[in-house]
Symmetry: D2
Subunit: 352 residues, 4 copies
């Protein structure tokens, strides 16, 4: 008899849902019990509901699993579950996640509830203490379960690199992104839009980056989160890359550390997942490369099994304090992998 927690994946047929399925294969703490998606897919076998987008094979037992509709009654009829991962599309996520949150711990990759005052927006290495806020949420809403959220993919990797910089007095961040195709889901970006091209616009992305980072790096005062006080400006672009968001970052600090000091705080950065040795925690949340042309998406996105953020080209800036490049795997650390690490954190803290 397995002692693993049984999980339902909501939005299991989408690009992030598929990554959840892939990463949960052989997970020591979690096992997939129910796959749920929209009405269009409900009732089909998984293998008939969507093209499998991962380069690894679709696991045989997943292929044959039925997909149920993403509502509590359908999920409960399909199996007993302990917790829920949600990668539902934005428009559906809002109400469906509330339905589940009343009863189950819900780990959401959707943006619907990220900025809710009583909902944590978690990066386990950055703000594990914010997780406690679900107790407030449960009390206020009278829920048995809760909703906790992960940030936007382009925010996660940036925020991880910002955390160790806060000790130098982080004041301003300008960031221009070059984001991968998989960030738009599937079918997502039409090939005719991106061949021999760059699209300098991703709907809502700049607003998310500019808002979310302040909450993640803010202070939890035992009741709610007070935003961090730095300023952030983002300009977001889609490039012809499969996976891996690359970001060109300019930073203004209060202090003026040397490049070596900055490299050191990046390289030595450790968070609670590393201390707790959570199953999905990378040994190094931040990997520093010293070659002059790294990080690059194809070569660095799989660092730390896709859970490390890779930084490079750290150099002085003529206007701000310094500039650097950062790269993260947008559907692993930036989505499903990040969600699983959050769930591991909650479980290890006894919150889920």
């Amino acid at each position: 008899m397995s002692l693993k927690r049984k999980v339902a994946v909501l939005g299991a047929t989408g690009a992030v849902g598929q990554r959840f399925i892939q990463l949960l294969q052989g997970h020591p703490w979690f096992q997939i019990e129910v796959l749920a998606a929209s009405e269009r897919s409900a009732g089909k076998k998984y293998k008939d509901a969507c093209p499998w987008l991962m380069e690894t094979e679709l696991p045989k037992e997943i292929a044959e699993m039925p997909i149920v509709n993403a509502d509590v009654a359908s999920v409960e009829q399909a199996g007993e579950v302990d917790l829920v991962f949600s990668s539902l599309p934005g428009d559906l996520a809002g109400s469906v996640e509330e339905q589940f949150g009343a009863l189950y711990p819900v780990f959401s990759k959707a943006s619907a509830h990220r900025m809710d005052k009583d909902v944590p927006l978690i990066i386990p290495e950055i703000n594990p203490d914010h997780a406690e806020m679900v107790k407030i949420q449960q009390k206020q809403r009278g829920w048995k379960g809760f909703i906790t959220t992960d940030p936007n993919c382009s925010t996660i990797q940036l925020a991880i690199t910002l955390k160790p910089l806060m000790q130098f007095g982080l004041k301003q961040i300008m960031v221009s992104t070059m984001q991968a195709l998989s960030g738009a889901g599937y079918p997502g970006v039409p090939s005719l839009d991106i061949i021999d091209n760059v699209v300098p616009f991703i709907s809502g992305e700049e607003e998310k980056m500019e808002a979310e980072a302040l909450k993640i790096l803010g202070n939890y005062n035992g009741y709610t989160v007070q935003n961090a006080e730095f300023q952030l400006s983002a300009s977001c672009n889609r490039v012809n890359v499969k996976d891996g968001h690359l970001e060109s970052v300019f930073i203004k600090l209060e202090q003026d550390p040397t490049i070596e000091e900055i490299e050191e705080v990046f390289a030595k950065f450790q968070g609670e997942p590393q201390k707790l040795k959570l199953p999905s925690a990378p040994v190094n949340p931040i990997v520093v490369r010293h070659e002059n042309s790294r990080p690059q998406p194809r070569f660095d996105r799989d660092a730390g099994c896709g859970m490390s953020v890779v930084v490079g080209r750290i150099r002085k800036d003529p206007i701000m304090t310094f500039k650097y490049m950062c790269l993260g795997h947008n559907t692993i650390r930036g989505a499903a992998g990040g969600g699983i690490l959050s769930a591991e954190l909650y479980v290890s803290k006894g919150l889920a």
Copy 2:
């Protein structure tokens, strides 16, 4: 009998040299008399010396022309020339251009002499008055001819957009570029380096951008150029796009114009080439797009026959004053087309 000026193209086999040849077909003022390149190509027919990289056909008469070595004696033996376009590689350009400059007007796309104190760095719409500096150069060096230079491709398009902003008190520019493959010449970027990838480094590019813009937008005091006083920081990336550099720009101004005012100064901007109706001058040096996802390299690089710079996504910035995207065709406006427009300016001013 043709009254056109006879030109030699130095570096005729390279990617920019080919663009010179393409754009000079049917030019009303200039006709190609001599094609010169390095020793490796000298002595061959043009068609046998290099693969033709343009999508238009290699003109038949060019195909059969012999290539001579890029030195004065060889060029003069091959034909009588009035002026010289140079797109020699950086290491060769320095001394060869001086050899020619002693005798002929040399319009150079190479970086070797850009920052020389008595050498103009020209964008005809921006600083046509700097062209007068060749008189100083001739006097100081005792030359019959002169060297005048065009900026780096990524600088040209940015500088064109900066010029009309100077009226608002231009203070700081942060720019992150996404540059096209053709900017690296041929064979240039190996396909294995760029498929499913971005390379966040272009050797010397950031330094060039940070230095050149200050000279171009500086003041010519009748003797030399005093640098402009704004600050510029660049982060340069290579993306999988054939032609067209896209730049994500953040601007700090002394004043706080509205978005409409900024759009208006961009759209109405005209320079001397427009007033003089030079043959290669675009009607609009800057084209403003209002769609939320433009400019895009594949759709906008050919605006104004590749001679217009296209801007879009002009919006307020939470840290600086505003931000926008700009795009230019790196081998037309950013290289051969820009060089030809410079030559047209000099000719129309009686300087060449």
Copy 3:
């Protein structure tokens, strides 16, 4: 007062519809009077109904035109039309085209009626005599108008090269295609499917190629078409190219001409459009390249303004008689340009 024929474009918002609009700008015989599409677009201005996919600008007057529903009543209410171009999606085309065919000459790029016994399948250079069959069709169906069709894009370019080979006794054709993204319409192929990839399957494409070529190159006996007697086998692949289908062809002939003889019949091939000097007829329907690495999509797709088929690498085959590569622009010669040329043929013959 214009004496041009007024045309309606059905399916005007799709990738082929947009190419019709682009190519009809300034056409000497035809002018666009009505733009029609599916219910989803009807009622909108053209500029609001679809993203414009062409690299040339959306013509201003088209941008402001209303789109009407693709039915006779709606089209007639919107304007008086003389003939109809249809690039409706397959499922709609069947009945809608019949509705229009009863009243108007319909030039269709859809596959719905291509194999109908009384419907011509036309390539103007190949089988202009088949056009006469519309008289039979009108009589049989009691129609004032008619439907005439163009072949599939990958068939057109191949069939053009097969025509001059028939004099050598054409017996067998094996063809493996590498087809462009634009052949799948818009949004068409998801970028995640094709980056760093080839998709060796295009639904229905092999069947169309294997059937259509026999009809096109068959004999019209004054009543119907008797299929040609050669055999054809196709294997179809999608590659990461914007426009231009490239085909690897192996041919078995009864005779054994030299490579020079084959090149000569290709290069000298002329059809009725060339004799009639139709506005869209390329000077050379077939262009022969002698370099060992041509034709290539990016360099050859625009030959003859996209209306020429480019062949190359003509060489002896160890099994069949010879092999070669052929390339055509799939949305110009293979779609809208081919349709316009067909209409020009019908008009010049007094059939429309």
Copy 4:
């Protein structure tokens, strides 16, 4: 003390040499003792001699190893070696491999000696008996060592699929390839040549495919190889894919097996590497996919750790007997992995 055989890799800095290094990490029978390359690299540390092209990290101990010149004296001075892998460029390989072959077993990926009468051309699953021919070679040449070769990458994957078809009387093969960029080495194909393009020519490739398959599938009569009697025609194309050659194959057999019978002989095919359980042998040399759009390079190239050939779209052909697609990883099964498997075969047979 390690009992592993010590190997030298000649051509260690090239794309295939790097793959040898990657695949030999942790190999149970072989360990890298010497890295050799051309004079240009000799004397440098490995990490300074070439950009590392693999997505996995350059192993630390390899990074620090010195590169020696690819001659016997230099290699022997650098270390004691038992056998040699060669991926030297074609022009160097001829004489250098002979120098080493006189003393050591040489497993060559170069084409120089493939067609030599006394040199085996090996695919371990297909013709392991040909390996015995090195005894003839040693006797004739008076060598202590020998040269054995692997076929061209595009030949290997095709030949593996042909072997099980020989039982049905294999008569003719027509093949059109879509080959990956890595097949051209590094820097290899310039990005400007392949973006939005296909190049329908690979120098010497068609000739190699047409000749090598006959030798591989021929009979070894105890003295030399008598070519197989089928005919093969190839048309080779380069596409914008990183790894994985895809081939469109048309086959004529004497017999007329059903599709199911063909699938069965593919799926059940096993060779000596499988029986001997060689370390690099895939469980299934041929994997049969039943989806209508597979195999695809990005999804199938890593089947069997890159050592399986994946076939799909097996269907009747209107001219030949049947047609199918096949795909293999060109730098694993088609190059370094194939070479290592050959060496394992020779070792297990006591020949090396």
